[in-house]
Subunit: 144 residues, 2 copies
Amino acid sequence: MKLSTRTRYGVRAALELAESAGRRPLQLKTIAQHQEISLKYLEQLMAMLRSAGFVRSVRGSKGGYVLAKLPSQIKLSDVFNCLEGPVITAECVQNDNYCARSADCVVKQVWAQVQQAVTNVLESITLQDLVDKAKDKKTSNYQI
Amino acid sequence: MKLSTRTRYGVRAALELAESAGRRPLQLKTIAQHQEISLKYLEQLMAMLRSAGFVRSVRGSKGGYVLAKLPSQIKLSDVFNCLEGPVITAECVQNDNYCARSADCVVKQVWAQVQQAVTNVLESITLQDLVDKAKDKKTSNYQI
DNA sequence: TAATACTCTACTTGTACGGTAGGAATAGTA
DNA sequence: TACTATTCCTACCGTACAAGTAGAGTATTA
């Protein structure tokens, strides 16, 4: 029931891109240093996010990555889906033919409930939400 | 983010024990057949549930397993915890020292939210609830 | 042309899952 | 007492995937 580092790293990287949205491309080297992630590993994660259309890359010197959409248009469920795969607790929840008991199975209903609970959270939060929240935090810290 | 078969099998087995609560021990052979689970594998799962005190075993001929508590006293979170381990989405959620950003990290808060959502569902359901629900289903089916 | 940064593919290593297998211990029964 | 049924314990195994590492290749800019 643990998240993969892929997803955790990916969300952190995406958040960093969101924070510098509108500016020039952010280099993976920078993100890797900030987030203490292996550059080579990060490259692979970003390739996944790129294929899925959430980020754009700029090659060559002074290149880097930028978000392909507005931070408010990228939900955490998008990033999650891309890196971790669909939120599935049990095969039977998606595929009715997977198990003969499917129609009446009360256990299946539980897994569906769990799955929905996770999905609800991730779909309710965008990168912009996180950017805002992080900004608030910093402000309130300065006030202390 | 998928559940292990351990947990899924375990819940199904526990539910079967709950359904025959108050009667004589149910044998693993029977459960394994009903649920189409490898007997040898099931033995291992039940050993875990036994160590955790949720079921009691009766050895020897005519032996088997019974619930060690009332079905209403066993939450799905108990079984889940025992077989899948604690509901942890990310290490940092439990252990503040795991990451230096911990105090202000908005990503950590997301994982905490997800974790809480899962926990809420599993803690709100007992084996008795499932037994009741399954009984209702059968009744309504007969009425059709 | 040199330097920079992404791109693509292959490889490695460790770990956990999902079992299988075999025999020992225990308890009822003939 | 011998036999049978059942749980108990330990060891083993194959596979898949996570989490990286590595290196050569390509595009872009200065």
